[in-house]
């Protein structure tokens, strides 16, 4: 029961959990980016974002099944499969997110904040239940096709998959950073987030910019969905609800609206969750509760998050 009390501290175990946390955190960070970008630009908690992520997992599962992938691949077959699944996942989630914005949020953009949130909950319900009708309410096994080898450093085991997930996530984040800071469209996005009125006066097409934000946010969630299925080796129609809440917590922890914050928050939450699973008595059962507890504590004590700025209310 009480692992911490019963055994002396195991450093290897500790670092193993940190490593697990980093991998998980990379996935959380990718999903958190979508929450934070959308919130940054239209001040909406995209409640359906987790389900957009989930749709990447179920669509790519179908592709993998259609291709009869059921064994470990190597060489070109592996690279080709990964590329294909990433493209499918990114297109699914990116496209879905853009569609959702167009149908469910854009008509309500001038409504009070809680109204699009209710509409987002409706969308989330629709996405989950269509997925359930399609894939049943069962947890479905995801084929293992990525080499299961690992590097061992002392007692620490790092699988190739962990490395792949980390490298992919970091590459996407660097790409996002370059995009938002170096390109014209990225600047338009930041300008709109700062002050949509002024941005529009400077000739920024607001609708297009918002669509682009949803596209990128969805795409990152799509990529996360692909690697998450590989990591968890399973697919479940409610995975987006659970993971989405954790990723939202990460975004809030980092400071919602802040891109670096979402990345930081994602990794932190991943590590905290991994450590909690190990060191909190009965940790696995409570692990979801841990994320909620963190969320509630941040919102109460530091709603602006770690990297966010306190903004005065307009009076």
């Amino acid at each position: 029961m009480h692992i911490l009390a019963a055994s002396s501290f195991d450093t290897g175990l500790f670092f193993q959990q940190i490593e697990n946390g980093i991998t998980l955190g990379a996935i959380y960070a990718l999903v958190a980016l979508g929450y934070t970008m959308v919130y940054g630009i239209i001040e909406l908690i995209n409640f359906a974002h987790g389900d957009v992520f989930m749709w990447s997992t179920i669509v790519t599962l179908s592709v993998a099944q259609a291709l009869h992938i059921d064994h470990v691949l190597g060489g070109f077959a592996l690279v080709g499969t990964l590329l294909l699944l990433l493209i499918v996942g990114i297109l699914t989630s990116g496209g879905l997110n853009v569609l959702i914005e167009r149908v469910a949020y854009r008509p309500l953009r001038r409504a009070p904040r809680l109204i699009p949130l209710i509409s987002a909950i409706g969308v989330s319900f629709i996405l989950e239940n269509v997925a359930q009708l399609w894939k049943t309410a069962n947890v479905i096994a995801y084929p293992v096709f990525f080499p299961t080898n690992a590097i061992t450093i002392g007692s620490l085991t790092i699988t190739y998959l962990d490395i792949f997930i980390f490298v992919l996530a970091v590459a996407l984040m660097v790409g996002l950073n370059v995009f938002t800071n170096r390109t014209k469209m990225g600047r338009a996005m930041r300008a709109t987030a700062q002050d949509p009125e002024a941005a529009a006066l400077m000739g920024v097409n607001i609708n297009q910019t918002i669509s682009l934000t949803f596209l990128i946010g969805g795409a990152l969630a799509g990529a996360a969905g692909v690697v998450y299925s590989m990591y968890a080796s399973s697919v479940y129609f409610l995975s987006g609800f659970q993971l989405g809440l954790i990723a939202f917590t990460a975004a809030v922890l980092g400071g919602i609206g802040n891109i670096q914050g979402a990345v930081l928050g994602g990794f932190l939450i991943g590590i905290i969750e991994a450590l909690a699973t190990q060191y909190v008595p009965n940790g696995l059962a409570w692990s979801q509760g841990v994320a909620f507890a963190i969320l509630i504590l941040i919102l109460i004590f530091r709603p602006s998050g770690l990297l966010g700025q306190q903004v005065p209310d307009k009076v």
């Binding site: 209710i118 319900f125 009125e197």
Partner: protein, 439 residues
């Protein structure tokens, strides 16, 4: 710039229905009975009386499966009335209302059977309280929980509050799932509601063959809670709630203590949720944590949005419609479809529906109702008068607004006006400035 304005919002598709409805109303208005129009007899409080009479004779007209469904409907009417105080009156979006339902359920289950089982599978004696004591006690516990949860969180902005309440709702389920005393995943059994001895004879509320008495009990509670909610609405507290919902800052500056006023909404709503929970266990005999998911919170929210946020008759109708659908219609639909020769015969064109349980599509439909109502008729089936004004006003202000952030782009439907106060002012602000020739 703006899309061509539709008459009153809504789809042209439904125009014939609207026309038919208007014609019916006009005819009812013209027809006189004892010096009043027929319309008079079926509007306002008189409609409430008619509904109550129908509700009273309902168990006499249908068999017990329908009476049981009636009990469940009544419990959800209570829940919808409770959540409506929080969402409709105070403008706080509570996505974790199920937490208070859980408290009611487990209060009754834990304190009605005399024992609990601890993690070592030992029986621990627990005092037994009667159903009639637990009914107010469940309300009290849930109300206290509402205050405890609300006190630290009600300062949060509306959308953050929504997510935090969702967290509490999920935590309540994770909590009962992980505490051995509450039976973990197996949940708890509880005795049914008791028999009451009266001079006129025994009244058995816990009869599982004939639910009529229990039905009348829940109906009585619905009537009491409806009257109570109506009292709250038309009081200084009700005014403060509306003021706070419309403009938090102005309400505070006018002397409304925001935290206290929000807490009262939270606590009252929670207490009603607790009563619903007590009734639920007394009706269903056993409960498990997996019954108390996010789906419950959302179902109740759907009832409110469907009926009309803030409107008492609206949310009652919303709850009845949705639960009628859920408890009666879906099962009948299943029986009907599965019995149809087009489905049942192998090789029939619709045979693929043979194994389909329409209950599975239920929540998909809830999602569609939620999205559809918010986009097409945010005021609900029976709108609250004030809410309807808020919606109209917000859209008219928007059309008048020249400086609003998003006036730059083409507008689709312009529907607004629900939700918490600071939001309203933020969005309405620039518009009213334009109207008000502000310098």
């Amino acid at each position: 710039m703006s899309a061509p304005s539709r008459s009153k919002g809504g789809l042209p598709l439904f125009q014939p229905i609207r026309d038919g409805w208007n014609a019916l109303v006009a005819r009812l208005e013209k027809t006189q009975l004892l010096g009043r129009s027929l319309l008079w007899y079926i509007t306002g409080w008189r409609l409430g009386i008619i509904a109550l009479i129908l509700a009273v004779i309902y168990p006499q007209m249908f068999d017990d499966s329908y009476v049981l469904a009636g009990c469940i409907i009544a419990i959800y009417v209570l829940l919808a009335l409770g959540l409506n105080i929080v969402v409709g009156y105070a403008g706080l979006l509570d996505l974790g209302y199920v937490a208070f339902f859980v408290i009611g359920n487990y209060t009754y289950a834990a304190l009605s059977r005399g024992y609990l089982v601890n993690s070592a599978k030992q029986v621990v004696p627990v005092p037994v309280l009667s159903f009639w004591w637990l009914l107010p006690l469940g309300a009290l516990f849930a109300g206290i929980a509402g205050v405890l949860l609300g006190a630290p969180t009600l300062r949060l902005r509306g959308d953050y509050l929504a997510i935090v309440t969702l967290g509490f709702g999920e935590l309540s389920r994770i909590f009962v799932l992980n505490v051995p005393y509450f039976g973990a995943a197996n949940g708890l059994n509880a005795p049914p509601a008791p028999t009451v001895h009266t001079p006129l004879g025994d009244v058995d509320f816990g009869n599982f063959i004939d639910h009529t008495n229990f039905y009348y009990l829940t109906l009585a509670l619905v009537v009491i809670v409806t009257l109570l909610v109506n009292l709250l609405r038309n009081s200084s507290l009700g005014r403060a709630w509306v003021a706070m919902r419309e403009d938090e800052t102005a309400a505070a500056a006018a002397g409304v203590n925001l935290v206290r006023t929000k807490l009262l909404a939270f606590a009252t709503g929670a207490a009603i949720g607790g009563i619903g929970g007590i009734l639920n266990v007394a009706l269903v005999p056993s409960i498990t944590p997996d019954q108390f998911t996010f789906n419950i919170s959302i179902s109740i929210l759907v009832m409110i949005v469907l009926g009309g946020i803030g409107s008492i008759p609206g949310v009652i109708v919303g709850a009845i419609v949705l639960k009628l659908f859920d408890q009666i219609l879906l099962n009948n639909l299943n029986d009907y479809v599965h019995g149809s020769p087009l489905v049942s015969n192998p090789g029939a064109p619709l045979h693929f529906l043979a194994g389909n349980d329409f209950n599975q599509e239920k929540f998909l439909l809830y999602g569609l109702v939620l999205l559809g109502m918010i986009l097409l008729r945010p005021q609900g089936i029976i709108p609250d008068r004030r809410r309807q004004r808020e919606i109209k006003e917000a859209s008219s202000v928007e059309s008048a607004s020249a400086v609003g952030v998003l006036a730059i782009e083409e507008s689709g439907d312009t529907l607004a006006g629900l939700g918490s106060a600071p939001d309203v002012t933020e969005y309405v602000g620039p518009g009213s400035d334009a109207q008000g020739r502000e310098g």
